[in-house]
Symmetry: C2
Subunit: 305 residues, 2 copies
């Protein structure tokens, strides 16, 4: 098995990734109200929750999907910022004492630890609003009707039949024996929905779109979304807290089913490999513009943290 | 001073209000996922939080503003449902132990009491997403660009420079002496922003729009929004828990400044009257279509619960 760093073009991929990440940092910094604007404590905490953190996997997927439809980078940065704000809000709420009760995230104290619980609650709430606010600012698509559909797509992905619903399934699963099908159903909602939305929104930002390509990207996103979670479970099982930047081994400790507890590490690893092949397979017929998507499938499965 | 019930047309106004409220109940029931759809516990709790509750003041304002622009009732019901879902989410989160820690809302146990804290957190999160999802479904305005602007307006009103920001200011104000100007600044955000959005969105649903009328409605909404809060403080001061359907006298008990603690009941009552006159004054020039808005200003100031 080859790893991402030994593949041809890996250096070029890393450079692209770094570029997108830098562009995202700037877009997110612009999307959030300045820390000195009232209420300053809330704005400061929102920036603390979002900036200087994370691999920006969803934005990377949005940018890569945008290459397939010829989307301008400025649009992609805004759409991706909306998605990342939804992701960031979910982490803030997920870390709260009534949920996972985590004290460490991306190597820093979680928002409710650094600030307080009430502020963390409001930070998450306000980040969700901010996501829809920037997604609805004019100019993200040539046709406002397409942009309206992007809003609807992100809202559905974030909501009770998407990410928030997945969180609820996760809650209900704690301390209970879970079947593999149930675990998959939960992850398709909890992390999968937003990853699929990232690919769909990035693609929607561009002018060159068609139903067949959209269908390919949906299959790609479904496979990558699940692969992402399988690998997360493997890394959580293997890694130390220092490497992950969040509390490691917590899921197993809380009696939560993971791909590793259900399948064992070796079979979980082959499942991730299989999903990577599925994701790459879905891209066939898209040609050169799908290169970054293929590289991201490799990156997501072969990453070490 | 006359009261709403003795004014001419009061019976007609009550009938209109009842019609809008019934229409809203149906629209909200349709907007929320059925209680049997997975995750069933979350969907059941979302319906518990939203249905059969509240006076639907914001929807009433949206419908009344829609009369000025000739908006169809079907559009108004959807736009108003989005606004009411935002309002409902804010109540669920506001009642949580880390915020106001309230056990009673609309005469029923609050969501975190009836279910649990984690579910209450997710209910609020998912209600916010649901609001933007229905607001982005096609057909709310003739021009999708106008509808996109409605999304942006609601998101801004809900976010850190609107309602959520007001909540943060409220948190920071607890147990501290507040100036009248600070109290007003907080309420302009906490309750005012969403009330202004309700009027703006209702108006935007109709075909007959113009900048001068929009400006009149903005002045109306600003006055009504503040009046609403002043009267809330008066009622909280006067009423018993049984009449209010929520824990009475709690603000003063928590050392929170209110219009009554700052001005006394009599001066708070004249301020409310003054704001009612301002609201009615702003409607001059709009003619007969503004009748419901005028009646609502009366209702909001003269209500007994």
């Amino acid at each position: 098995m080859t790893t991402a760093t030994t593949e041809p073009g890996a250096a070029d991929f890393r450079a692209w990734m770094g570029e997108v990440q830098a562009r995202m940092e700037a877009a997110l910094a612009r999307a959030l109200p300045p820390a000195h604007v009232a209420p300053a404590r809330l704005h400061e905490a929102m920036r603390y929750a979002v900036l200087e953190g994370g691999k920006r996997v969803r934005p990377l997927l949005a940018f890569a999907a945008g290459e397939v439809s010829g989307a301008p980078a400025e649009r992609l940065a805004r759409a991706a910022a909306a998605i990342e704000l939804i992701h960031a809000y979910s982490l803030v709420h997920d870390d709260m004492p009534c949920m996972d009760d985590d004290v460490l995230r991306r190597g820093k104290p979680t928002v409710h630890v650094e600030y307080d619980e009430a502020t963390a609650l409001l930070v998450g709430d306000a980040l969700q609003s901010a996501a829809f606010q920037i997604l609805a600012e004019p100019g993200l698509a040539d046709d406002p009707a397409v942009q309206l559909d992007m809003v609807r797509t992100l809202a559905a992905a974030a909501g009770s039949r998407g990410m928030a619903g997945g969180q609820q399934l996760d809650l209900q699963a704690t301390g209970r024996e879970l079947e593999l099908a149930e675990l998959e159903f939960m992850h398709i909602h909890k992390t999968g929905a937003l990853i699929r939305a990232a690919v769909a929104l990035g693609y929607a930002c561009g002018p060159t779109r068609g139903a067949a390509d959209r269908e390919r990207l949906e299959r790609y996103a479904a496979a990558v979304g699940l692969a992402f979670q399988v690998v997360d479970d493997i890394l959580d099982h293997e890694a130390s807290t220092a490497t992950l930047g969040k509390t490691a081994g917590k899921d197993a400790e809380q009696g939560k089913a993971t791909y590793v507890t259900l399948l064992g590490a070796a079979r979980a690893r082959s499942l991730a490999e299989e999903l990577r092949a599925q994701a790459r397979g879905a891209l066939e017929g898209l040609g050169a513009p799908a290169r970054r998507l293929a590289e991201l499938a490799d990156y997501i499965v072969l990453r070490k943290f």
